[in-house]
């Protein structure tokens, strides 16, 4: 169910009204859980069983961990993490592994290749891991609450934590210790309307006006269309795709945050103006923050982080990003994408170990250009998951050096320029936020919000899935 579909709007308004009716105030959690299950099951009802299995498993394991002490806790938490990994590997990667090892034609191979990819599996299994690990580490707060309030209460909280519909399918990845304390009775008077309004307007604008319109022009990147394009177009398309993927995902995340705000929950921001980053490290602190935080805390740190020497640090960065890449999709090209980022980060760390980071504005600006170029070229593997097609795209960059002559291609360049402008302006705004000029403009920002609202209604592109749904 898309956030910009009619069926979602009905579901949302129905849930929202029931949620705040005084008569139903003691059923708020249950109302949200039921709506979330309906939201998830809408497309593929069968897969709800997997979600329920994952929730019950993680609730049970974390409950048992909280009620035990000593060595058994460690064993149980390890088993919990392994069980989550088995679920994700089985449903997400078995097809890829079968293909890699050439078992497609066998009976089992055929079965594995035909397995459906449950929506949001990468998100809800990771949340299961955070729950198990947080309870084990005692980050949950007072674990004794579990035994006092009983398993039923914990199960219902876990159901809401994992299935809460604003974030269920494409994040942000929540952390148990940040979400559970928020599960309390909510009041209509407690809604932070302005915050929700800002998040929803900017989110929908980025998704339906910017991303959905850009996709109508960046489709030329698909194989074999790109073979007819000139270098100019190939570069502009790539730039447009970089803007599209940001507005698509950041838009989704903002909508998720806005919806959660309306239900009285505060989710952490997932994006923080990533394209102004002047280093790859900074980029990953600003892009898909919930995933990079997860990878840092649950993978990079356990691997030793930067505490085991320089070489080991480079290796850890590399491995973390390789696995982070694979998390995005069941294709080796995603691993290559992650590896490329791992390489960028390791090289950057190596440079920083011997050369101090320059504070000269020009050097920082060039660093920003370098990071944006590296990140943008790496997105090519998202658009063209077949590695050979991506290589062919790069070859065409140098083979077709010319300017476009056809009107359609010139129109694509013109449209990409126009629809990318809001993303550029969004980032420039961040750079100017300290300036006096910006403070003056901020006073009339309602004009801008009025304009964004107008464009959401009259200039939306054709509906499309969120790019991150596939992960």
């Amino acid at each position: 169910m898309l956030f910009n579909s009619q069926e979602f709007l009905w579901l949302f308004f129905g849930t929202f009204l029931l949620y705040y009716l005084p008569f139903f105030s003691s059923y708020q959690v249950k109302i949200l859980i039921l709506s979330s299950f309906f939201f998830y099951a809408y497309g593929q009802p069968v897969l709800l069983a997997l979600l329920l299995f994952s929730i019950t498993m993680n609730a049970y394991i974390s409950y048992v961990i909280a009620n035990h002490e000593g060595v058994k806790r460690k064993f149980l938490s390890t088993m919990g993490v392994v069980a989550n990994l088995v679920v994700i590997v089985f449903f997400k990667y078995s097809g890829m592994l079968t293909h890699t090892f050439g078992f497609e034609d066998s009976g089992i191979g055929h079965f594995l290749m035909m397995l459906p990819l449950p929506l949001g599996i990468s998100f809800f299994t990771f949340e299961g891991i955070t729950l198990v690990v947080d309870v084990y580490k005692g980050h949950y707060g007072d674990s004794k609450n579990f035994s006092q309030k009983g398993f039923k209460d914990h199960l219902s909280k876990t159901m809401l934590f994992v299935s809460f519909f604003p974030h269920l399918i494409a994040g942000p990845i929540l952390k148990a210790n940040e979400f559970y304390p928020q599960i309390v009775s909510k009041k209509w008077s407690g809604i932070h309307w302005e915050k929700a309004f800002r998040q929803l307007v900017v989110g929908y604008f980025l998704k339906v006006v910017v991303a959905d319109n850009l996709k109508d022009y960046t489709y030329w990147i698909d194989y074999p269309n790109f073979m007819l394009l000139s270098t100019t177009s190939l570069l502009v398309m790539l730039f447009g795709y970089s803007m599209q993927i940001f507005s698509d995902f950041a838009g989704y995340s903002l909508i998720a945050l806005g919806l959660a705000t309306l239900f009285g929950y505060e989710l952490k921001g997932n994006f923080n103006f990533p394209y102004i980053s002047t280093s790859f490290g900074e980029f990953w602190r600003r892009w898909h923050i919930s995933l990079s935080t997860f990878l840092k805390e649950y993978l990079y740190f356990p691997l030793g982080g930067n505490r085991k020497g320089k070489l080991r640090t480079y290796f850890n960065l590399f491995v973390t990003m390789f696995l982070g890449g694979l998390w995005h999709g069941a294709a080796w090209s995603y691993a290559v994408w992650g590896t490329a980022h791992g390489l960028f980060l390791a090289l950057e760390r190596l440079k920083n170990d011997y050369l101090p980071t320059s504070k000269i504005p020009f050097v920082q600006f060039m660093g920003g250009i370098l990071v944006f170029t590296g990140v943008t070229f790496a997105w090519l593997l998202f658009k063209l998951p077949d590695f050979s097609h991506a290589v062919l795209y790069l070859q065409n960059l140098s083979a077709n050096i010319r300017f476009e002559t056809t009107y359609d291609q010139l129109k694509s360049i013109g449209s990409i320029t126009v629809y990318s402008f809001p993303v550029v302006a969004y980032h420039v705004r961040y750079l100017l936020c300290e300036k006096e000029f910006y403070q003056k403009v901020k006073k009339i920002e309602w004009v801008l919000f009025g304009l964004m609202l107008l464009l959401i209604f009259v200039n939306a592109g054709t509906k499309a899935d969120f790019i991150y749904f596939q992960f």
Partner: protein, 303 residues
């Protein structure tokens, strides 16, 4: 802040609606769809909300007959072209029923009867009567009226001026080898899709259901006084359905009182990819089409 934003929104909205109603913004400056999906949507909305002749005819079909749009100027204005790229006659029929008036004559391309209507397309045009009514009365809600597309047109014009001024940037069209390769890949994809469909028993079953639905729709329109004319585009030699299939189809149409254009063989016409007529050939076939129409007009059976 929310109140002020909403007031600004309503003011902008009224301003845009005013501009559109007074025809101060030329349609061609606004969204000129580039990909097939956008073109189909714009075409449908033009048919539903703008096309308003006292007597009119309509053509429905797939991308095969959508090639007629290349030579649109050859057709009289009373024939509205409603064949859709990537879709089929079933989508066209859905659009026909949304307009309050039915056409006097309906030209139906019969090459693709086994492709179901696209639900997403139908919902984009309007998923319920209310949405359709709203789009009918409020021009700015139609997909064809995006203000940012006006900005795109201006930017594109600026790029063209820039390119023309700095002639050294002007280059060649994509080289022929690349174009041939892309075409071959597309043909191969289509062939694989067809192969998959022919092996799929449920597909054959669905295709039969779709054909039955097609006939019942044609009967319905015929009963409502629409003159039905079937025609078959001369393409798809490699995957052409058997002669018997078309003979049966046309015999059935005649028995129901529908009209049919003479069939011409695909070997007599050149295509770009096996399925779509080339620019010159679509012009030649358009002459043939109009001659057939004139023949029927001469016998006074067409409106």
């Amino acid at each position: 802040m929310i109140k002020k934003s909403l007031i600004a929104f309503f003011l902008f909205f009224l301003l845009l609606e005013g501009f559109l109603r007074k025809d101060l913004l030329n349609d061609e400056w606004l969204r000129s769809g580039q990909n097939n999906w956008s073109i189909n949507i714009l075409n449908s909305q033009n048919y539903l909300y703008k096309y308003d002749l006292a007597h009119f005819n309509c053509m429905i079909g797939s991308s095969i007959s959508a090639r007629f749009n290349i030579v649109k100027e050859m057709f009289p204005p009373e024939i509205f072209m409603l064949p859709f790229n990537g879709l089929s006659v079933h989508d066209g029929l859905n659009i026909l029923y949304r307009k309050e008036r039915l056409p006097d004559t309906l030209f139906v391309e019969t090459n693709v009867l086994d492709r179901p209507a696209n639900a997403e397309f139908a919902s984009t045009i309007g998923s319920n009567k209310w949405e359709e009514k709203l789009k009918y009365y409020v021009s700015s809600l139609r997909e064809a009226h995006g203000p940012l597309d006006l900005a795109s047109q201006v930017t594109t014009s600026a790029i063209i001026v820039f390119r023309n001024k700095f002639g050294f940037l002007g280059g060649d069209l994509p080289n022929k080898a690349a174009m041939d390769m892309v075409r071959e890949i597309e043909v191969e994809k289509q062939n694989q899709e067809r192969k998959k469909q022919s092996q799929d028993k449920t597909f054959t079953h669905k295709a039969n259901d779709l054909e039955n639905e097609f006939w019942s729709q044609m009967d319905n329109l015929h009963q409502k006084g629409v003159v039905i004319v079937l025609f078959n585009m001369p393409v798809d030699c490699r995957n052409e359905k058997s002669e018997t299939y078309y003979n049966n189809l046309y015999a059935k149409a005649k028995s129901k009182g529908f009209l049919v254009f003479d069939r011409v063989h695909c070997q007599d016409y050149a295509t770009t990819d096996g399925t779509h007529l080339s620019g010159k050939e679509i012009e030649r076939y358009a002459h043939f089409f109009l001659a057939q129409r004139a023949k029927l007009n001469g016998s006074a059976v067409l409106n």
